[in-house]
């Protein structure tokens, strides 16, 4: 290739002084650096989303399809009518959708990590959390789109939330927070598992019991005692109850508090686990 003279600003030829460079190195990234690096990784994830809009398929289809389908199939049987069932169902679907998006986060993380470019990310002096947290920040868009779409579909088929606009905004916000926090579990799985397929498989196994063995679609009181006991400790149930309180009553109840505390606990445990497993996996 032709060799052009470099801009003197970028290439001060023959002035590489390693000992001076060594003196300038830092032993760990500062908080400010970590922030810039995480945001740069988020930028990368956003670019990818824009170039591969098919990624949004599940985010768009699931809220539309499941909301309408479940409402009309179960509505009469469970609550007597579709409109009576919607206040029960919509928060349930919100939680289910958030979990589905979480799963996609983990699977995509695994796929991404198998690419050659992750070798470069690892070789660069960047905070180990940045390649994980960056895409998760970009994913906030997906949680947002999925949640809003679910609520809108509900409104279209007759959902009239008692909590009003503010309650709904609160419910959607809580769904996004819960989804984002739980996504750390799946990201951790992504850094652990051997392949994207295995992440998908394991995630399914976690997701199905968590969503269906919860109060997302049916009132817990109708279940046999042993199942009711499980449903009551299932964290998804708490998120669903909290979202119901917000959307239907506009009330910030203890459930909301517990849901937020639960989310914080999940992040506190799984974010460090994920970062540790990511830095080891080389």
């Amino acid at each position: 290739m032709t060799v052009h003279t470099l801009n003197p600003d970028t290439a001060d030829a023959r002035s590489v002084d390693p000992s001076a460079l060594v003196a300038r190195t830092t032993s760990r990234p500062s908080l400010g650096e970590t922030r810039v690096q995480t945001l740069s990784m988020a930028w990368r994830a956003l670019k990818k989303m824009r170039r591969k809009p098919e990624q949004f398929f599940d985010v768009l289809i699931q809220p539309l399809l499941f909301t309408a389908m479940f409402a009309f199939i179960f509505g009469g049987a469970i609550s007597g009518s579709v409109s009576e069932y919607l206040p029960v169902l919509i928060p349930g679907i919100l939680a289910q959708t958030a979990l589905t998006v979480c799963m996609a986060t983990g699977v995509q993380m695994r796929e991404d990590m198998d690419k050659g470019v992750f070798d470069r990310f690892k070789s660069l002096p960047i905070a180990r959390i940045a390649p994980l947290a960056g895409p998760m920040i970009a994913d906030l868009i997906r949680y947002g789109v999925a949640s809003v779409l679910t609520v809108v579909t509900g409104l279209l088929i007759g959902y009239r939330p008692g909590g009003g606009v503010l309650g709904c905004v609160g419910g959607v916000a809580l769904t996004v927070i819960a989804g984002w926090s739980l996504a750390w579990i799946f990201t951790w799985l992504g850094t652990k598992a051997r392949s994207a397929q295995s992440v998908q498989g394991i995630s399914m196994m976690i997701m199905f019991p968590l969503t269906f063995l919860s109060n997302a679609f049916v009132p817990a009181e109708t279940l046999p005692g042993w199942l009711e006991a499980f449903v009551k400790v299932n964290p998804v149930s708490h998120v669903v109850s909290a979202v119901r309180d917000l959307c239907n009553d506009g009330a910030v109840t203890a459930e909301v508090g517990w849901a937020v505390i639960g989310c914080a606990a999940v992040v506190a445990v799984f974010a460090p686990l994920a970062v540790r497993s990511y830095s080891r996996k080389m």
């Binding site: 290739m1 032709t2 060799v3 052009h4 470099l6 801009n7 600003d9 970028t10 290439a11 030829a13 023959r14 002035s15 590489v16 002084d17 390693p18 000992s19 460079l21 060594v22 300038r24 190195t25 830092t26 032993s27 760990r28 990234p29 650096e33 810039v36 690096q37 740069s40 990784m41 930028w43 990368r44 670019k47 990818k48 170039r51 591969k52 690419k115 050659g116 470019v117 992750f118 070798d119 470069r120 990310f121 690892k122 070789s123 660069l124 002096p125 960047i126 940045a130 080891r280 080389m282």
Partner: protein, 323 residues
């Protein structure tokens, strides 16, 4: 601190289960040189490089980059080293310009300056025209160039090149060699791995030969080659010619034993100096021996290997190691 080594590794070990991919290698790379690590597939070259680049944990031994401990302070080491891998490690979903900008941002370069550097590097590596096209349309050579450009954004004093020209066509390969030479003129130190003796010969000031995770030799390329003879004269004798007589002639003229294949009448003669080929040919003519084919071959990696280790570069154990 002129005596500060770019790389100093003592007894480096990497084990995968029972298999020791790198088995006690010492390496000493001086500032400002191109140091070549030569060996066949599966010899442990890449594993060694990945350990030095903090991409793989070091299982045993000690390694320092410009005096910074690789195990204890990986974040520091990462600020001093640029890594260009065997497989281009750039983001397929971004354009060339976006790749360079992102890598710049990640390393603390301001957005505007990252843009300027990206522009300069794209120009220097002849990638301006393709700068905003998707990477899927890039040729192998372009990818490799972008990969190398990505390693140069912060102008690291030490650059690791893992088989920089494997899979490139001869012309692109020559261009890559020129680029690598320029980097050293700019003051960088380069540690490169290669399977090609030719490449080590062209670029490296000093070469370490790695076999089955061990260093079997370390020298200048010239000294290594001289161990197997500068080149080999390969003769095919005409039918009915006396192969023993030919061997005598060679021994008398060069003082070395040729390698004989009596079944096909082939004689391989190591030449200390290519100039002596004519002497051998004249000697054979005078002895009345007729020749059906003549060629002069440069020593191959395989021959260097054979001379150094007593086994070929491609024999079974190496293939096994490669898996």
């Amino acid at each position: 601190m002129a005596d500060l080594s770019a790389v100093r590794a003592d007894g480096l070990v990497k084990a995968f289960g029972d298999f020791r991919a790198v088995d006690g290698v010492d390496l000493h790379v001086r500032q400002g040189e191109i140091f070549g690590v030569l060996g066949p597939n599966g010899a442990g070259k890449t594993t060694m490089l990945r350990m030095l680049a903090t991409l793989l944990p070091v299982d045993g031994g000690h390694a320092e980059i410009f005096g910074v401990d690789v195990r204890r302070e990986p974040h520091r080491v990462r600020q001093l080293v640029g890594v260009t891998g065997q497989y281009a490690s750039v983001d397929e979903d971004l354009t060339a310009r976006e790749n360079l900008w992102l890598f710049g941002r990640l390393q603390g370069v301001t957005s505007a300056r990252a843009k300027a550097i990206a522009g300069d590097l794209l120009e220097r590596f002849d990638l301006q025209e393709a700068a905003d096209r998707p990477l899927a349309q890039f040729s192998g050579g372009m990818r490799r160039r972008l990969d190398l450009a990505s390693s140069l954004i912060t102008r690291p004093p030490l650059i690791f090149l893992d088989e920089p020209t494997t899979g490139l066509d001869p012309r692109t390969r020559g261009q890559m060699w020129d680029t690598i030479r320029d980097l050293v003129t700019d003051g960088s130190t380069i540690l490169l791995t290669t399977q090609y003796l030719d490449e080590a010969d062209q670029l490296a000031h000093r070469v370490a030969v790695i076999d089955r995770g061990r260093k079997v030799a370390e020298d200048t390329p010239d000294a290594l080659k001289s161990q197997v003879g500068e080149s080999t004269l390969q003769l095919g004798l005409a039918e009915g010619a006396d192969i023993a007589l030919a061997a005598d002639v060679v021994r008398r003229l060069l003082g070395e034993d040729p390698v004989l294949t009596p079944e096909s009448g082939r004689v391989n003669i190591p030449l200390p100096d290519p100039d002596r080929a004519a002497d051998v040919l004249i000697g054979l003519r005078e002895a009345g021996l007729r020749i059906s084919s003549v060629s002069v071959a440069k020593p191959t990696l395989d021959e260097v290997f054979l001379a150094l280790t007593g086994h070929g570069a491609d024999d079974e154990s190496q293939m096994e190691a490669a898996r």
